[in-house]
């Protein structure tokens, strides 16, 4: 004998879809700005089709059944794309949970025996809840992808090379200096050295939270590469706590020119280029 709720729901597919759409369209969190009602309807019908077709006696108690793969696929696709489009978790959750409301609503109308209604409602409840979990898992995954992409973008825009003076470049590094970041820093620095013909580069690490042996190694590599290009590299912005940590760690930075602040690095750079900065008044008195 076919499970009663399967019979009811498959027979009333159109009705289920209408009820579901009604619930979705009347919810206050409906995002007509992000998705048209027509699109929503197509998406909902596709999911409902996959769900009801595969709802069988042996699958109704088993949300992990391979028969529901199509359902899970559609659902995952929907929630990943919603995450990327900027839907909130609530707006995404409403989609699947309003389907549950619709299914239960139909069961209630069609199954007269209270005992049977209870048993069937429980089954549908459990099944849809587990699809709900899938929805949230993939939603989070979608958000993580967005975050990862942004991280990449940030690391690219947050390593500007600044021409502070003729022949002097400055590169303020803010945030963690991991391997991929170092690559970006090094490439843009070397490129800029060539383009501007600069002979001094100042790497300011005031905004780097910690210097461990990997970061130190990255810094040393960047300095060596700069020297190979015939330019000198000064590392500035070494805070007292970083200096102490680097010493305890045992990192040897003695081959590198280091300065505590960007200002003192700039002063050192002026000296190397044999430039002096003097007050205007004194200049006047000399020329007089």
């Amino acid at each position: 004998m076919k499970n009663q709720s399967i019979k009811v729901l498959q027979g009333k597919k159109k009705h289920v879809l209408e009820t579901w759409m009604k619930f979705q369209l009347s919810d206050e969190s409906l995002r007509e700005d992000l998705m048209s009602n027509e699109e929503l309807r197509i998406q909902s019908e596709e999911l409902l089709d996959a769900f009801l077709t595969n709802l069988k006696d042996d699958t109704i108690d088993d949300p992990k059944s391979s028969a529901f793969e199509a359902v899970v696929d559609i659902l995952s696709g929907i929630s990943i794309s919603r995450a990327k489009q900027g839907f909130t978790p609530r707006e995404t959750g409403i989609y699947i949970f309003s389907l549950k409301d619709a299914l239960l609503n139909i069961l209630q109308q069609e199954i007269k025996d209270p005992q049977e209604l209870y048993v069937q409602s429980l089954k549908i409840n459990k099944l849809i809840d587990s699809f709900g979990v899938v929805t949230f898992e993939t939603f989070i995954k979608g958000r993580e992808e967005v975050i990862l992409r942004q991280t990449d973008e940030i690391s690219e825009i947050s390593t500007p090379v600044i021409r502070v003076w003729d022949g002097i470049l400055a590169l303020p590094i803010i945030g963690t200096l991991d391997s991929s970041r170092t690559q970006v820093v090094m490439e843009s620095l070397l490129q800029e050295i060539v383009e501007t013909g600069s002979s001094i580069a100042i790497l300011d690490i005031s905004g780097v939270p910690a210097v461990d042996s990997l970061v130190a190694q990255h810094l040393i590599k960047t300095v060596s590469a700069t020297r190979l290009m015939g330019a000198e590299c000064i590392i500035s912005g070494i805070r007292p706590e970083i200096a102490q940590t680097v010493v305890h760690l045992g990192i040897d930075l003695s081959q590198v020119i280091t300065k505590s602040s960007l200002a003192s690095a700039l002063r050192a750079a002026f000296q190397m280029l044999q430039l002096t900065v003097v007050k205007k008044q004194r200049v006047q008195s000399i020329t007089e």
Binding site: D212, A216, Q217, E241, H248, L249, G250, I251
Partner: protein, 128 residues
């Protein structure tokens, strides 16, 4: 917290920093424990394909501190005393991670079994 990717290190470090600030650790000691933590986390990633770390606030008399336990199920370390030497590295690196970490923390303990994994426990006292 599980650490299986390089980006997992950032939330872990932020969490550690929060806790260190909460118990009133000095800036220098904060920086030292955070640096030590990032060395150990990276070793776990590089040599053991990731692992797990727990952060715990501990106290001894009037002194508070944080304790970190790094556990992995990687290949283990054959010769611990060699791995603890400055400059020893099987990864073409500086070889400063383990010995440097030991100098940065107040208490350092390492256990390792080849084929089983490695467990490193470090404690940094607030004023230690």
């Amino acid at each position: 917290m599980t650490i299986v990717r390089e980006i997992d290190v950032i939330p872990f470090r932020n969490r550690l920093k929060e806790i260190a600030i909460k118990i009133g650790m000095s800036l220098v000691n904060q920086t030292k424990i955070i640096t030590a933590a990032s060395e150990l986390a990276r070793n776990m990633l590089k040599y053991a394909n990731g692992g797990n770390v727990t952060i715990e606030v501990v106290s001894k008399g009037r002194e508070n501190g944080v304790r970190l336990v790094f556990v992995d199920e990687g290949p283990g370390i054959k010769d611990i005393s060699l791995a603890m030497k400055d400059g020893y590295s099987t990864g073409k690196s500086l070889g400063l991670g383990l010995p440097g970490t030991k100098r940065l923390v107040s208490e350092f303990q390492i256990e390792s079994e080849v084929g089983k994994g490695t467990k490193v426990t470090v404690t940094k006292w607030k004023n230690g």
